[in-house]
């Protein structure tokens, strides 16, 4: 009798879970945007004979089912807590938390990726640059460089990484900045570095490129909480970051032009600071080609920075020493098109890339 009762309870629980889930999947509208992962969810596939016959419908349905699953964030958090708490996994999908900082375990070192990046940089050098250009290269280590060692996670040999990159791009003068950086120079929940903590890095770059920065900045805090890109990936309950930004010197008066959208943009877009990705407040986020002009410059020198998203934060700090800085993100614009917009004659050129991009350089055009 007792056994029968137990079996009934098992069946009823199963029915509740199965049909509760089924009804919620059917009736609950899926999210329009996955905030924590900063992406649009997979759409519901269209049911057509062709889609079914080719198997496309079924393939897309599984992605849709996972993305639109009710209480998705709750379940992702449950998984992250189970992986770390019960199974004692040291990382969850390659993401880990150490000392309150979230980081991706950037490992292993993909030498072929470095070769590719160097080859693309050399292509630009050969196509646009001459001996009149002073060319520099600097590598920004990702946060894992400073967290892995103390937390027992895997990490690349960052020194070897820098040395190899410098050797492969031997047409450029290498500027080492990794010795100036530490864990606290990065956001706890995001990949990026913090503008208010990298003034020394900007000065090192400036000094190496032979320019002087004013160094007089005011620090401002953005009121909005900042949940960085790792926060969503980690799916763990952690405190948000705060964003600080710097004004003063030439930053206040410079003009920024977005060539991609044909518009003038502010250095710090305070609307973006309130948006889904507050980091986009720095030079409006991922744009292929922008120009920062310094009308009060005492020089006519110009700088072209080939960069990734880390460049958006540091470029405003360098404008003191130039009349114009052009930022090109060759993940979004092919180098062949740059000649139409950028005057490379006698300009300084800085290749400034994070290890995150260099170690996965497939995205570089």
């Amino acid at each position: 009798m007792q056994k029968r009762k137990e079996n009934m309870v098992v069946c009823i629980l199963f029915i509740l879970l199965l049909y509760g889930g089924f009804l919620l999947c059917l009736l609950m509208p899926g999210p329009r945007y996955l905030d924590s992962e900063r992406r649009v969810p997979a759409p519901a596939p269209k049911l057509t004979a062709d889609a079914v016959w080719s198997g496309r419908f079924m393939e897309e349905f599984e992605s849709y089912g996972m993305d639109a699953f009710p209480f998705r964030e709750f379940f992702r958090r449950m998984k992250a807590l189970t992986a770390g708490g019960i199974f004692q996994r040291q990382d969850n999908n390659g993401i880990y938390v150490a000392d309150g900082f979230i980081s991706a375990m950037e490992y292993p070192f993909h030498e072929e990726s470095l070769d590719r990046a160097a080859e693309r940089f050399r292509y630009i050098y050969d196509k646009y640059l001459t001996d009149e250009n002073r060319v520099f290269l600097s590598v920004i280590p990702d946060k894992n460089c400073f967290l892995a060692g103390i937390s027992g996670r895997l990490s690349m040999d960052y020194e070897e990484f820098e040395e190899q990159m410098a050797a492969k791009a031997d047409f450029a003068e290498y500027i080492r900045i990794s010795d100036l950086l530490e864990r606290d120079d990065y956001y706890r929940t995001d990949t990026h570095w913090r503008q208010e903590r990298i003034i020394d890095v900007a000065e090192r770059l400036a000094q190496s490129m032979g320019i002087t920065l004013s160094g007089n900045y005011e620090i401002h805090e953005v009121e909005q909480d900042f949940y960085g890109v790792y926060y969503g990936q980690a799916a763990l309950p952690l405190e948000p970051d705060r964003i600080w930004y710097l004004t003063g010197g030439a930053i206040d008066n410079c003009r920024v032009y977005d060539w991609q959208n044909g518009r003038t943009i502010p250095v710090y877009d305070m609307e973006s600071a309130k948006g889904r990705d507050p980091y986009e407040m720095f030079l409006s986020g991922s744009l292929s080609l922008i120009t920062i002009e310094n009308p009060n410059a005492s020089t006519d020198k110009s700088l072209v920075i080939f960069r990734d998203s880390f460049g958006s934060i540091i470029a405003p700090l360098l404008i003191d020493g130039y009349s114009r800085i052009t930022l090109a993100d060759i993940r979004y614009i092919h180098p062949d098109l740059l000649g139409k917009f950028v005057d490379f004659e006698a300009c300084d050129v800085l290749f400034l890339y994070s290890t995150l991009v260099l170690n996965h350089s497939d995205t570089i055009k």
């Binding site: 079996n7 069946c11 199963f14 999947c25 079914v52 019960i86 996994r89 895997l154």
Partner: protein, 473 residues
């Protein structure tokens, strides 16, 4: 071939658990008794078509041929024509399998031997063809041996295409299930039993096999291999393949139970075996018994002396290996077992009986080596992996990556090692034998099952697609 695998509706997927399963279960249970098989067949065809719409017709024609041959064999059973039809039906079934699964293997080897370059066919492998072909052969041979032929084609199609065991077994014998297809009972008790089995199988797959698979992938992707890493990989893959496949079998058996069927067991704690002979009585039982009954015994088994018996063993194990995949490493894997089995039959078995510990170490070691061969991309990789275990070549003893993986997967490995033994089952048995323990278990069991269900849903929602290993067979 991979894209075909990726499209398959896995039991451990959101589309199966939260869309297909609720619909098929409700339709099945509200259907009157006479419509239960048609509903089950329809659901199974949808399930199969989800992965491969085009190959539904291939499976349909296999069923049709099986039906026609079954009737013909029954009609002419006592005559030579019966034997003829039985052979023809087996040849038809095997020809489908040979064409879709092995054509490119034969062409590649033909090209290699002759120096010609006959173009390969690049045929996508129909999901579950190895399993349903064997079921079909089991049907026609059983009919030839005296079982009644199925007069209802829907019932035969249910036997072949039933979704719980369609794509990865267990290989259900027709003689075993014929009665259940016609009449079966449904009850809360059976359903509860099936639910427990299904959830436990799913936990094996999602919580253990998938994580162990991650460790194996990390090893394969690593450029920093060490002796420790080779051993970690070897142990992890042993556990991975067990939890993956036995988890799937548990899910299939559990689903069958919910629907009123009782399938044969497919695994019985194989890693506690004291010999390779015992291992194969406990591992993939439905395949082992299939080969025994439909190949080994018809070849003469052990009835014609040791020499003939060893030839039969060699043939059976070569075929067993080849069944697992169209590559030389699978054939070598099968032959490797045949050598061990022959050695055991000659003298080793008696020697092993002297030590319970050594016999188990021996079994686990050779099974581990066999799975290294099994999982290798090619023979070169298999030998390189085996050499790595013994530190042959310029391999360091430990590496940072291996130590990290050991730390990160320690609990999973430990759970896996405990999970391959009957320890948990014995513990539950001990607890339930005591009055208080029994009462606690009554409350805890549903809670644990519900908790597992939610955690597994969490893993599915967070995770990517994880195809079962055995779908490629």
């Amino acid at each position: 071939m991979l894209s075909q695998e990726n499209n398959i509706m896995l039991f451990s997927s959101i589309s199966f658990l939260y869309y297909f399963l609720p619909i098929i279960i409700v339709l099945y249970f509200i259907a009157p008794k006479r419509l239960k098989n048609p509903v089950l067949l329809l659901g199974s065809l949808v399930f199969y078509a989800w992965g491969e719409p085009k190959y539904v017709f291939l499976m349909g024609s296999s069923v049709l041929l099986g039906y026609v041959f079954g009737r013909l064999i029954e009609k002419y059973r006592k005559k030579r024509a019966g034997r003829f039809f039985c052979i023809v039906s087996v040849l038809f079934s095997l020809s489908f399998l040979l064409y879709f699964k092995y054509a490119d293997f034969f062409l590649e080897n033909f090209n290699a031997v002759t120096g010609l370059s006959v173009p390969l066919l690049y045929i996508a492998l129909p999901i579950g063809i190895s399993f349903y072909t064997f079921q079909l052969i089991s049907y026609t041979v059983d009919v030839y041996r005296g079982e009644r032929a199925q007069t209802n084609i829907i019932s035969l199609a249910v036997y072949i295409a039933m979704f719980p065991q369609l794509v990865a077994g267990p290989i259900v014998r027709y003689s075993y299930i014929a009665g259940q297809i016609e009449t079966r009972e449904h009850s809360w008790d059976r359903a509860a039993e099936g639910i427990c089995r299904f959830v436990i199988g799913m936990a094996k797959k999602i919580l253990l096999a998938n994580q162990l698979g991650e460790l194996c992938s990390a090893f394969r992707a690593s450029g920093e291999k060490s002796v420790l890493f080779y051993w970690l990989y070897a142990v992890a893959f042993m556990l991975h393949i067990y939890f993956d496949f036995s988890g799937y079998s548990d899910m299939a058996i559990g689903l069958g139970r919910i629907l009123g069927f009782r399938f044969q067991e497919n695994f019985n704690y194989p890693y506690i075996s004291a010999s390779i002979t015992e291992f194969w009585r406990r591992w993939h039982i439905s395949l082992g018994t299939w080969f025994r009954d439909y190949v080994y015994i018809p070849l003469g088994g052990n009835r014609s002396g040791k020499g003939r018996q060893f030839v039969n063993i060699l043939i059976v194990w070569m075929l067993t290996g080849f069944w697992h995949g169209a590559a030389w490493n699978f054939i070598i894997w099968g032959l490797f077992f045949s050598l061990l089995l022959m050695a055991e039959k000659l003298w080793l078995l008696k020697a092993l009986e002297k030590s319970r510990v050594l016999s188990r170490i021996y079994t686990l070691f050779f099974v581990m080596i066999s799975f290294i061969i099994f999982n290798a991309r090619d023979l070169g990789q298999a030998f390189s992996d085996i050499r790595g275990l013994f530190g042959i070549g310029e391999i360091s003893l430990v590496s940072a990556e291996a130590l990290y993986c050991l730390k990160s997967f320690a609990i999973v490995l430990l759970m896996g090692i405990v999970g391959v033994t009957p320890a948990a089952r014995k513990l539950v048995g001990c607890i339930s034998d005591r009055p208080t323990g029994g009462r606690i278990l009554n409350v805890a069991k549903p809670v644990i099952l519900a908790g597992l269900w939610l955690v597994m849903t969490a893993y599915l929602v967070d995770g990517s697609f994880n195809p079962f290993l055995y779908f490629r067979f």
